[in-house]
């Protein structure tokens, strides 16, 4: 009887830990898929798309997570295959300087114009 109790507790513990890791992996998968652009769809992430391309990427991301790869490693792997464009949040590098710095420059330019106008009014 005692052995049976121990076995039940053991099975339940293993079952719950598996469920927990499955949930964790699922959360990570959703997070990654929402940050990947479906390259053949218009304005859709891989998470939202049911295209052949998106289905394949979903499968690959799932396999990579199960293999134990971290989020950044998966992005790196996808970037190697399809370039920076596949990630919604592109890294700062020589190809994306303009993308990152242009809004900041425009913001500063707007500030300068506003300041000049205010000065002119005063």
């Amino acid at each position: 009887m005692k052995i049976l109790k121990i076995l039940i507790i053991l099975f339940l513990t293993i079952g719950f830990s598996h469920l927990k890791s499955y949930e964790k992996n699922n959360e990570l998968k959703s997070k990654i898929l929402k940050n990947i652009r479906c390259l053949i769809c218009q304005g859709q992430s891989v998470y939202d798309s049911e295209s052949e391309f998106a289905t394949t990427i979903k499968l690959i991301v799932e396999r990579k997570i199960n293999k134990g790869l971290k989020e950044q490693d998966i992005y790196k792997f996808l970037r190697e295959k399809y370039g920076d464009w596949i990630i919604y949040d592109p890294k700062l590098n020589k190809n994306t300087y303009i993308l990152w710095l242009l809004p900041l420059l425009l913001f500063l330019l707007g500030g300068v114009i506003m300041r000049k106008k205010l000065k002119f009014k005063n």
Binding site: S51, E52, F53, T55, T56, I57, Y82
Partner: protein
């Protein structure tokens, strides 16, 4: 006077939109991205279409010649339009065509080959699309040229046409 001016602006704007969309209709759906970083083909193991035996990528691309990898499926309508051109390309001795059967039903794929002919020296099966992913493919049909150093030097997304066949012939010459 002001109303006439606004009307003129609207007409010019609409005409501009019309011309842009009309021109867009004629645009080719074939897209050939610039490959600045020529990647070496991936190493993989895949099932052979005929024998169902597993083949190594090194065995598939073992010869010191140009290879053309064509990603196709029996359910893909544009694949049918490009198939006669692939048949013509397969007669070229300086190149070998490798077919990558993408997410397909095996019987349908076999019927497709029986009906339209087999331009491929080897066909490998990609049941879940992951092999095509390794080649950096977007979907079907897609054609990749692999040079003697086993690097992907050109990619054509969409069905190939006569112009592309001429381009391929110039590359593999």
């Amino acid at each position: 006077m002001k109303n006439k001016f606004i009307l003129l602006i609207i007409i010019i704007f609409l005409s501009f939109c019309f011309i842009i969309f009309y021109k867009g209709l004629d645009n080719s759906t074939i897209y050939s991205p610039n490959i600045s970083n020529k990647k070496i083909i991936p190493t993989f193991e895949a099932k052979d279409f005929n024998s169902m035996a597993y083949l190594n990528s090194e065995k598939i691309f073992e010869e010191d010649i140009y290879y053309i990898v064509n990603i196709w499926a029996s359910w893909c309508v544009p694949c049918r339009t490009e198939h006669p051109l692939l048949m013509r390309l397969s007669k070229n001795q300086s190149v070998k065509l490798i077919g990558l059967n993408y997410r397909d039903n095996l019987n349908n794929a076999k019927n497709f080959i029986d009906e339209f002919g087999n331009p491929y020296s080897q066909i490998i099966i990609d049941n879940d699309g992951t092999l095509s992913f390794e080649f950096g493919a977007y979907g079907v049909p897609e054609t990749l040229i692999i040079d003697k150093n086993k690097r992907i030097i050109k990619k054509f997304i969409g069905p190939i046409n006569k112009k592309i066949v001429e381009e391929i012939k110039l590359i593999i010459k």
